[in-house]
Symmetry: D2
Subunit: 410 residues, 4 copies
Amino acid sequence: MSNSKVGIWLIGARGSIATTVMVGATAIRQGLMEAGGMVTATEAFVDLPLTAIADLEFGGCDIRPRTLLESARQLQEESGCFGQGIIDRTVDALCEIDGRISMGTTINCGATIEDLASGSCRNDRTLLEDIEKIRQHIQQFKVDRGLDMVVVVNLASTEPLLELAECHQRLALFLNVIDRNEKALVRASTLYAYAAIREGCPYINFTPSNAALIPALVTLAQDSGVPVMGNDGKTGETLVKSALAPMFASRNLEILSWEGFNILGNLDGKVLNDPDNCASKLKVKDQVLEKILGYAPHSKVHINYVPSLADQKTAWDFIHFKGFCGAKMTLQFTWQGYDSLLAAPLVLDLARLAVLAKGRGESGLMPQLASFFKAPLGVAEYRHAAQFEMLGKYVDKIRSSPNESDRAVG
Amino acid sequence: MSNSKVGIWLIGARGSIATTVMVGATAIRQGLMEAGGMVTATEAFVDLPLTAIADLEFGGCDIRPRTLLESARQLQEESGCFGQGIIDRTVDALCEIDGRISMGTTINCGATIEDLASGSCRNDRTLLEDIEKIRQHIQQFKVDRGLDMVVVVNLASTEPLLELAECHQRLALFLNVIDRNEKALVRASTLYAYAAIREGCPYINFTPSNAALIPALVTLAQDSGVPVMGNDGKTGETLVKSALAPMFASRNLEILSWEGFNILGNLDGKVLNDPDNCASKLKVKDQVLEKILGYAPHSKVHINYVPSLADQKTAWDFIHFKGFCGAKMTLQFTWQGYDSLLAAPLVLDLARLAVLAKGRGESGLMPQLASFFKAPLGVAEYRHAAQFEMLGKYVDKIRSSPNESDRAVG
Amino acid sequence: MSNSKVGIWLIGARGSIATTVMVGATAIRQGLMEAGGMVTATEAFVDLPLTAIADLEFGGCDIRPRTLLESARQLQEESGCFGQGIIDRTVDALCEIDGRISMGTTINCGATIEDLASGSCRNDRTLLEDIEKIRQHIQQFKVDRGLDMVVVVNLASTEPLLELAECHQRLALFLNVIDRNEKALVRASTLYAYAAIREGCPYINFTPSNAALIPALVTLAQDSGVPVMGNDGKTGETLVKSALAPMFASRNLEILSWEGFNILGNLDGKVLNDPDNCASKLKVKDQVLEKILGYAPHSKVHINYVPSLADQKTAWDFIHFKGFCGAKMTLQFTWQGYDSLLAAPLVLDLARLAVLAKGRGESGLMPQLASFFKAPLGVAEYRHAAQFEMLGKYVDKIRSSPNESDRAVG
Amino acid sequence: MSNSKVGIWLIGARGSIATTVMVGATAIRQGLMEAGGMVTATEAFVDLPLTAIADLEFGGCDIRPRTLLESARQLQEESGCFGQGIIDRTVDALCEIDGRISMGTTINCGATIEDLASGSCRNDRTLLEDIEKIRQHIQQFKVDRGLDMVVVVNLASTEPLLELAECHQRLALFLNVIDRNEKALVRASTLYAYAAIREGCPYINFTPSNAALIPALVTLAQDSGVPVMGNDGKTGETLVKSALAPMFASRNLEILSWEGFNILGNLDGKVLNDPDNCASKLKVKDQVLEKILGYAPHSKVHINYVPSLADQKTAWDFIHFKGFCGAKMTLQFTWQGYDSLLAAPLVLDLARLAVLAKGRGESGLMPQLASFFKAPLGVAEYRHAAQFEMLGKYVDKIRSSPNESDRAVG
């Protein structure tokens, strides 16, 4: 393992996923639990120069008026997802981290997200002022904790879809947008991504918000030696879909219809109940089948807010397919998982792998991380097993060129 | 496509799968339907020298006292699985094939299978006499239909497990078993496999019966230039399992329990209701998880006979897994498919690919066909996507060495 | 059984349900099948003076440009729901009935329904002219077939919700609507219901269209000695819901959420894909839980059009409930049924029971038929078992007062 | 509410259900939670002279070498079924009750149960000695806690089926069995039931063990003025079955097959993994359908031990049914509930209702409690709604004859 000290700066730091990331990392550090669910904790990653969980520091920003501890207790009360006593034993760590979570921005995040924001969340700054604030917070975090590197991960609620124009495609034009303070052309996530990349921080867009890693910013990352990747962590229904759809293709069983119904009761569910915000989500989920099958069957993904479920996301998928002699058959599945517990270990994985990539001098998109995302940027491969093999080959390559991976981090 | 004329000689020729193979192939030939469900009908296999469906002839043996047409009509009546009018339009072909289906043997197949046999099914011959009879039938089929090659496919009901001894491991010892007429040491499927290989016919064991491709016979095939493969066509629950289990492994989600409940109402279900015969089936199904995961979770596969379902096999799988922070989550799936319609196209695929292999001078086990089997002989890879990639690489290799594949067939 | 000859005049006579009603009744008459699925075919109804299936005649109206036989063949081809050969053996009867199906009206049925209509479907008549046309068609049917009584059953596609005003509450005001030709205040179903009642025909509203049995028309029926009942045949998800919800109530298990997802591919599904038409449907489905539980849990019913399913409606319901110590538990169910085959026998039941009621001198709403409807008019009881007991008590009462039930029909 | 003090003496007092009963009753008493899941806590039972939860005292016996607190903590750890902090706040009460739990007997309970027993569990006493011991424990409990009445509830693990002979039918013969110490003719539950009835204690057999309320003991109860009832609390799959099967019957939809698969991981599951003990369970579950439908469809109930589920019992039921035109359709349901949390409130209900019955001078079987049991003794009605109505009518009768119900308890 690598001994450098790494900071993870989380956007949406008091949300369910971020809270779970911190509770989990603290519990692992204290030996309260194993790292189940973390891909980089498997044997395949042994001996790679990955940052130890104990060497991770947490910071970030949020917009809601509550403490990290309140978030943790609410998660536990509503979903009972943590083992007994874990919250109690991580109270000190959570309170300490809480002190360094700054106020975020909700610019163009839509009414549903703005309604969640604390009164002290200001949207009256210019774009440049906002960006500077974010950069200062990241710098502060780095200095305060004596960090060799900071990775920024976007875990904020899904923003409404941003219609991409020419100014989002080319870096020069995008810089003009900032200079001219054309607020309508960005969303909060755009500012975070820009600030992170300018700070040299690898940036992970774990959300479907397409405003974050716009082409202009991917170019900036590429040119600045900063690895970035997104979009939208693949944790539940889409994960299963990307494992099952190739099976049908491999057997020449034509998919007639694939209907997916997702119900969940956490904040994510509440925000996705807003059609504007949901559109972003559905866009990344909807393309999976066509990418895998080569044709677009009748298919729709539905997301509904069911408060009593809290964090326990449930999905029912109905798959209608046609076999020999034209016979119609069905596969149905029901997935019941804790949304945050499925996502959190991947956040740790992605941060560790982004640090590794930076250390190896990579920049721009990280296709080796495709299996972690619903809509992996720059990757045509959507079959889960094939995506996972891309990660395996990447790891093999590192193993076979150890010198390169021994380079200093930061 | 290759222009040679190929015969498929089916053991259990009037069973549901065999009947569907013949109805389907006839319907495809007549242009009544497309080849959906056939792997070799996909674009990936275009331009390979595969035998055209129109160039396939069917023959075989069975032990039950009924006609092929009766089987077809019963399937349609009970399961309604064929499109309208298909049976009516294939009557002539079915009746013609029926005339060349000979009487089979049930030696050591257990009471449940013996009870199904026609009165004219004799078990009083010596092993050598039985083998000679089978070889004569195959030869006759070849001569009568003017065939370049015959592939033998075992579609008979699952036999009780054969306990493998030294005599099944080494060819010389096995030849003694036949000479000495030691009936207790073989099952019907052993005789068919031996006869087929001696006739130079590629042999596919589509059933779980382990008595067919015993090590001694694999050696014989290897030495005789005959390609063979088994065991047990992967058509339903196990197919899904082999697609899903790697997904859990790829995410470090520990499987706590995987319980599978299969219900079906066809003859296969009836025979598997006999614990002796079922043991063979469960053996091939039970090992899949451990091979994929590297550990053996609590797991049991149950098979129950539910007559009203007829050919419409239904499986419910309950998967209990552990994620981050030790949280338990579940995935359940229900698979509802026509058993015979899922199997039949694979039989055509396997026959075509076996002919291809023979034409290329291959002999012994065909690991490239692993994705077709629940327990692929000689293959350690049980992950479906990885198995399917083995087939893809095999096809790529043929494409890049066309000369070899142009060799004459037979 | 009663020997009088009864006509069933179906609105939407070439739709899936109506077609199935006629195919089924013909097949029963010919002895091709039993009357499974018909409530009045059970032992509990033996000896009641019900019209024999053989004494039923069919007529009706429709707006679509196709034949009854085409409907029947399409149903069979897409859904394979009829037994083999049934359609072929009922061709003559279907063609004969087809000749007496008249052109209907689509007034205010919404764009989706109007798009389905044949070019010869005219909406330029006055309300009075439309009503007269309908009455003439019913009279003609009665005369032509020498019928003692005609029952009118609405099986047309769901209309958009009609907002009820004072003029729909009181008969006198409603008559003014017709006189003044205020088309905006009625829908097609209103005209059919009015015409039927004026003709002395019992009227069954098997659809959710609330414009049919408006209070003014129930009053008219009550005063005219005509039995009527609705709304919306209870055939699938709601049937199961009305059986399961009382179970939870009986155990003091609080329903936290009840989400229902319905997918179907027939014309009903297509029409319900129009939000206007769907609103009517959801209204009758949505009230069931509150009526049974006494409180309104978080609950939403979703209906989605999935063409490949054709008539095979599939519903997944997710029920989240709270037990002792506040623990959350779940019940999920998946219902897979042929929409038309579930509805058709109930149409025959309702017609027979309406004839019985008319013969007994009943008029106005028929609460004894509550168990057949999603939203039984004038009935507060929504628990299925209790509703079914209402029918049982009604039958018992008839048995104990035989004289009354012996009265001549018509 | 009645003010008398009532004791509940639980057989299997440290098992999951008993533990949950005590944790729950204590938590309700302390105002930590409401009485959700308790039938007698609903409005329908208001004003009935039922014993207040606060006036219930707990005692009992068990055979396992562990404390009640250990049981409670294990339940919480494995299943997380209790709300946060409940166990901690009931520690004192649990420890106090623990002190009065005596050692039980395992006579003829089979090897699986005997293996669970503490070393100090002796089986060398005569039947009479065992009975005397039990009576003394009950008497002691009554005296120590100053109780007006004691109800005995059997919550012990399922015993192997007892083949009923003449000696179990007639009281006189059964008394001889005891006198002659014919141990082979009884099981532990027989002794408990006999002792309870002789002590004048209402006796509830919440288990499927048929050795408890044998006909001879029902006679004894009847003659002694002691109300008794059983067998086997109806908590999960069978509850749903008894609500759904009448729905199919009410629609003349023939059940073709009803397969039920239960998986669970608590001690109940472990004991039921022993075929001898499971036979008792399946017997009470298997008869439900035939009693409701009037015919016996193909049906089998399977119970399997899946340790990771702990107390979270999961059942998948597959229902295949036939409708109009012979079409086959399906209903599947998955039930996921905490076994002990579903059972525990019913134990409190049954005890309260048994006290009420005793106070009203009832004796022998209590048919009004049919809805609580899988196989209600002496009751032919198996439809859940109809059974629940029996309870409603009983309550109505009490309300309309208040004097009778005011009689002193004890």
